[in-house]
């Protein structure tokens, strides 16, 4: 019922603004079209959502703060997703993060053949994606050339290139499935080595954890209010933080945050690596919606690297 009321109110609001636009357009003759375009653009977001401060998990200390009301495409997209329904809670009162978490959101620029022309991005896809990155880890100056080298080298410098290569935390991003039960949390990413099982019993960090060299880190989970926080140490220096050549040292520490609101799961992570980064880097906030009828997860067929040379440009990633 509330949903209907809300959408009715939204519709009324849109109608009001549309009328105002028409009045304005008829009042000003020259340059009116440009102005109208701006207003229509602004209409797509409710006014309250035009600052990243409204983004869940965005109260984390970071130097990433877009100037003024400009919102990165990634954050803008997340802000447009509205939670539906109540947040289920476990016996302790914490949000129950259990569920299958999917990213099957409607494409903001429509299906292929609409705004997005077929094949429009493919020719220089990585160049486009680099240009769209508003939030990058700040490396120490002596590593800038290394990042660039890794980014623009052959595809096989990427540690996930090939078969059975773990992606690791945090590059594997939001888990596809979560089970929260019996003071444990199971987090499963559908990638190689993608399962983490962490106790949720307020235990302390084992000092030995720092000596491990792992892809997923030695995780320690706890609640901060409604947010589940997983702090991980003991990483190797093989995995990357992203495809753009974002390497890290084996002294890296990662903090992941999970916040459930209704049927949405918000996720971000902070990477602390004083060996190579100037300052801790906090990722975008990512969003997933619960999948009400999850499909069976099938065993992956055997992987064969025979065709890799044909599938990817062997010379350049860029």
């Amino acid at each position: 019922m509330n949903d209907i009321k809300r959408s009715l109110a939204g519709l009324g609001c849109a109608l009001l603004v549309a009328t105002a636009t028409v009045v304005q357009q008829s009042a000003e003759q020259p340059g009116a079209q440009a102005k109208q375009a701006t207003q229509v653009g602004a209409l797509q977001l409710p006014p309250a959502a035009q600052r990243t401060g409204n983004l869940p998990l965005r109260d984390v200390q970071t130097s990433y703060s877009p100037a003024g009301k400009r919102v990165s495409p990634q954050d803008g997209f997340v802000m447009q997703q509205k939670p539906r329904g109540d947040t289920p809670r476990d016996a302790d009162g914490h949000p129950d993060l259990s569920g299958s978490w999917g990213a099957a959101f409607p494409n903001p620029i429509g299906a292929p053949g609409g705004l997005r022309r077929d094949g429009a991005f493919e020719a220089d896809q990585s160049a486009m994606q680099r240009g769209a990155q508003w939030n990058k880890p700040i490396y120490k100056p002596e590593y800038w050339e290394k990042v660039r080298q890794l980014d623009y080298s052959r595809v096989d410098v990427d540690p996930v290139y090939g078969c059975y290569k773990p992606i690791g935390v945090p590059r594997q991003n939001v888990p596809a499935r979560i089970v929260l039960k019996d003071k444990q949390i199971w987090l499963q990413n559908s990638v190689e080595n993608g399962l983490r099982i962490l106790p949720l019993d307020e235990r302390k960090r084992d000092e030995n954890d720092y000596q491990f060299s792992t892809y997923n880190g030695m995780g320690l989970a706890h609640w901060e209010g409604d947010t589940l926080v997983i702090e991980s140490v003991g990483f190797n220096d093989i995995s990357w933080l992203g495809w753009e050549g974002y390497f890290h040292s084996d002294k890296m520490e990662v903090t992941e945050r999970f916040l459930r609101q209704g049927d949405l799961l918000y996720y971000n992570f902070t990477v602390k690596d004083p060996e190579v980064l100037m300052e801790p880097w906090t990722s975008y906030t990512y969003v997933r919606r619960v999948v009400p009828n999850p499909v069976r997860q099938d065993e992956a067929p055997e992987c064969d690297e025979r065709d890799f040379k044909l599938l990817a440009d062997p010379y350049l990633r860029g």
Partner: protein, 132 residues
């Protein structure tokens, strides 16, 4: 049907047994002279911190000034950590450490000597890895 199964099982078992000695978790006594033990001191040049056993590479300078390369087999990465060894924060490639070892019955090649690491001394503290 049952007969077929028995034959198949027997064949599978035979295959397994052929493969077994190479795959088995080998006994230290088969490869190393565990009755002998002595200490070598040298520069750590490389650690392969892999399962099932880690491999340590040490260059030991002899009294004649010549360098002898040693390759030491040790515990699994997790095993080493559980022994209290700070593999990431206290051990550094290029630094000198002492190892109490048992030598191999047969060296892998004329240039390299093979041994089993019984203990390692880091910053004056001896970490007993395994008592054979």
């Amino acid at each position: 049907m049952i007969k077929q199964f028995v034959i198949a099982s027997a064949a599978a078992l035979a295959l397994l047994m052929i493969g077994a000695p190479a795959r088995a978790h080998h006994s230290a006594n088969a490869e190393f002279d565990t009755q002998k033990q002595f200490t070598i001191t040298g520069v750590l040049t490389k650690i392969e911190n892999v399962n099932p056993h880690s491999w340590w590479y040490v260059d030991v300078k002899g009294p004649d000034g010549k360098t002898q390369s040693w390759m030491l087999e040790s515990l699994s990465p997790r095993g080493l950590i559980l022994k209290g060894l700070k593999v990431k924060t206290e051990l550094h490639l290029g630094d000198t450490y002492s190892f109490r070892i048992s030598p191999a019955l047969k060296d892998p090649d004329p240039k390299t000597k093979l041994g089993f690491m019984r203990s390692i001394t880091v910053n004056g503290k001896e970490y007993v890895v395994i008592e054979l």
